[in-house]
């Protein structure tokens, strides 16, 4: 009788190629996603050492970080040039490197193009029980379908390209169990913001977090991807949600997903991966879903979370002296006074998008709030950026784009956009943004930008009122 194992342990064990005497394991990588920003130096390294890509068939490249989200073709259908020379060079490098090394490549104007973490599951390239890596920390996202997925640096990108493996130490396991039903207006984003507030930005360091409990089971695949996406914001390199009927229904029929008898074999295997009864985690945190409100961040760490009904905390309300100092710095940067009601904070910019919240369900949630309404006069810039060309097409088929543009929001082309300040979509210095992205770091959305992380419905509510708003006041 084998020892009961967690989902993480089962996936890990199935991928150990070799174990070294010091405990380091050589782990096989089933899927490698590549984008333009963290790959050029890896391809250069391969060239310099005369190496090739071992498994181009397990590798998929797509540009997302640098691409402007404005029109990509002119009226006669010709591709428009990228104005920024450095971005253009980086995008051109990927466009050259992918075919040169035999890697399948989705180009900037393909209908399937999008944010790498939206594209992977959407194409069925990301599958449960697989190991997935990408030179991007939000690779944790794919844990939402039950893949062991994590971000890697460029040296590791080169290592995977050359060997299809990584040298890793096993992680510790952490269970975050969310039991019960969430209230109205509370979404997957609010669940993960709340979790991050509870465990802290380093709470999951050294661990892989498995999200369990009835509130997680009740989420759609889109919602699960949102939760697992931000595992890294709690310090965990990967998140995991056990694959189930919801996952299988989502994946079935997608282009790269198994077909026919292969599909049945795959589902049987995926079903066997669930954590065994009696398996133990190194750490468990239990959260009551009823305690989760529509949530918002006040500071410059994703752990700085309060319910929308809350106030800006005073630095001395924290016990830890280093947190007091960090909070004081955050408040100065954010231009906020302790005691201010979050709902009184005026917002000039709205960003609905990013690998956290740019899937069809996110756009539907935002559109439901915006329908028949208009953005407030004080909101200067409001953009909706679908996660992929397929999400964009679906949203347009449902008429969501019209709801957004009628409400005064801009409807853009897919990409990472204003999540990270690398492309033209930036928040001006000193201005606030209600953003559905994942990081409220100093300067993240552009130098001097002030980010408040929220759900798509909450971002839509802020667009309507021009201030951070409890979305429950705008829905029935």
């Amino acid at each position: 009788m084998t020892r009961p194992r967690t989902l993480y342990e089962k996936i890990w064990d199935a991928h150990v190629v070799e174990q070294r005497p010091d405990g380091t394991c050589l782990i096989f990588i089933d899927r490698h996603l590549v984008h333009e920003v963290t790959s050029p130096q890896a391809f250069a390294g391969l060239r310099a050492s005369g190496r090739t890509v071992r498994r181009p068939d397990l590798t998929l490249a797509v540009p997302d970080h640098n691409l402007p989200t404005t029109a990509r073709r002119d009226a006669s259908g010709n591709r428009l040039p990228i104005a920024d020379a450095e971005s253009a060079a980086q995008l051109a490098a990927l466009e050259t490197n992918a075919p040169a090394f035999g890697i399948r490549y989705i180009d900037a104007v393909a209908p399937e193009q999008g944010i790498v973490h939206v594209v992977g599951p959407e194409q069925g390239f990301s599958l449960p029980g697989t190991t997935i890596v990408c030179g991007d920390s939000h690779t944790a996202c794919h844990g939402g379908i039950g893949a062991l997925a994590f971000g890697i640096g460029t040296s590791e990108v080169e290592h995977v390209l050359a060997t299809q493996t990584l040298l890793l130490q096993p992680a510790k396991t952490m269970e975050v169990r969310v039991e019960g039903e969430v209230g109205p207006g509370v979404t997957a984003k609010d669940i993960i913001l709340h979790i991050t507030g509870v465990i802290g930005a380093a709470g999951g360091t050294g661990h892989v977090i498995e999200y369990t409990g009835s509130a997680i089971r009740a989420l759609s695949v889109e919602g699960r991807l949102t939760v697992s996406n931000m595992a890294i914001e709690g310090g965990a390199r990967a998140g995991l949600i056990a694959p189930d009927a919801t996952t299988f229904a989502y994946l079935k029929g997608r282009p790269y997903a198994p077909k026919g008898a292969d599909w049945d074999a795959a589902v049987a295997y995926w079903t066997s991966l669930a954590t065994d009864p009696g398996a133990t985690y190194d750490k468990t945190v239990v959260i009551d879903a009823a305690d989760i409100a529509p949530s918002v961040t006040w500071g410059t760490s994703p752990e700085d979370v309060v319910p929308i009904t809350g106030i800006v905390p005073a630095p001395d309300s924290f016990a830890d002296p280093s947190k007091q100092a960090a909070a004081a710095k955050s408040l100065a940067y954010m231009g906020l006074e302790p005691g201010t009601r979050m709902q009184d904070v005026a917002i000039e910019n709205i960003f609905i998008g990013s690998c956290t919240n740019s899937r069809i369900e996110d756009l539907r949630a935002a559109a439901a709030v915006l329908k028949g309404r208009h953005k407030a006069a004080g909101v200067k810039w409001a953009i909706v950026v679908p996660g992929s060309g397929l999400v964009k097409a679906q949203a347009e088929a449902e008429g969501l784009d019209r709801i957004f543009t009628d409400a005064g929001l801009e409807w853009r082309e897919p990409g990472c956009s204003a999540c990270l300040g690398m492309n033209p979509d930036k928040v001006p210095a000193g201005e606030r943004c209600a953003s559905t992205s994942n990081r409220n770091f100093v300067g993240r959305q552009g130098p001097g930008s002030r980010t408040h992380l929220v759900s798509p419905a909450m971002a839509a509510a802020a667009a309507v009122t021009g201030r951070l708003t409890d979305v429950r006041e705008l829905i029935d």
């Binding site: 190629v17 070294r20 010091d22 405990g23 050589l26 096989f28 089933d30 920003v37 963290t38 130096q41 050492s49 190496r51 071992r54 068939d57 397990l58 450095e86 060079a89 980086q90 069925g124 390239f125 697989t130 030179g135 920390s137 994590f150 971000g151 890697i152 640096g153 460029t154 040296s155 590791e156 290592h159 050359a162 060997t163 299809q164 493996t165 040298l167 130490q169 992680a171 930005a201 380093a202 360091t205 050294g206 790269y256 292969d262 074999a265 795959a266 295997y269 752990e303 280093s322 100092a325 960090a326 990270l420 300040g421 690398m422 990081r439 770091f441 100093v442 300067g443 993240r444 130098p447």
Partner: protein, 197 residues
């Protein structure tokens, strides 16, 4: 990768908690297709202040950085390690690191030393006036005031750092095991190979 064994010199008494890689190197510097020259963008936002620590004469080219909890959190950008290396940093000392950052550091010949907060507090004090000595072989951090702090490090990482090892060459020695794994999944789980090309 340059091997690392003993490092002695001034240590930048930075000490902040939850310093993310966007702070270490802002996004605009990620558009490069090279690993070189990123020191110019290191801690750019903080260095906009003329009185910043990093540009004080006594800390110019300092080989050691003392940081706070959860150093290098956030984005996986290896540019953070490249930028620190380009600044001249060979050792970071902090109570904890993000997992991705510490891995990136090691792969670029930068030693991430983990010490408890009390030791960090003492080293921050020493760093204001005096150099600090780090010895990877004996796994110790010492000062001329007889401070001596021992640290733990994963033996594989230690071996890589001491020898300036290229991990890819090391992994290529496991060719037979990798090929065997590939053969096993091709037989047992053929659906793992993407359905269309």
């Amino acid at each position: 990768m340059t091997p690392i064994e003993k490092v002695e010199g001034r240590a930048i008494p930075f000490g902040l908690k939850n310093v993310d890689t966007d702070v270490i190197i802002p996004a605009k510097w990620l558009k490069t297709i090279s690993r070189e020259g990123l020191g110019r963008g290191a801690f750019e936002t903080l260095r906009a202040d003329p009185d910043n620590l990093f540009d004080r004469p006594e800390y110019k080219q300092a080989p050691i950085l003392i940081a706070g909890d959860n150093f290098g959190c956030g984005s996986s950008r290896e540019h953070a390690a490249w930028a620190l290396g380009d600044l001249g940093i060979r050792v970071v000392i902090a109570p904890s690191y993000s997992d991705i950052f510490s891995g990136n550091a090691v792969k670029n010949g930068i030693l991430p030393v983990v010490l408890p907060q009390a030791a960090i507090d003492r080293l921050l004090e020493v760093a204001a006036t005096d150099p600090i000595h780090v010895d990877l072989d004996t796994q110790t951090v010492t000062t001329r005031f007889q401070d001596r702090f021992s640290f733990d490090i994963d033996p594989f990482r230690k071996m890589c750092l001491l020898n300036g090892l290229d991990e890819i060459s090391l992994t290529e020695k496991s060719e037979a095991a990798i090929a065997a794994h590939e053969k096993k999944i091709a037989t047992d789980q053929p659906w793992l190979i993407p359905a269309i090309l």
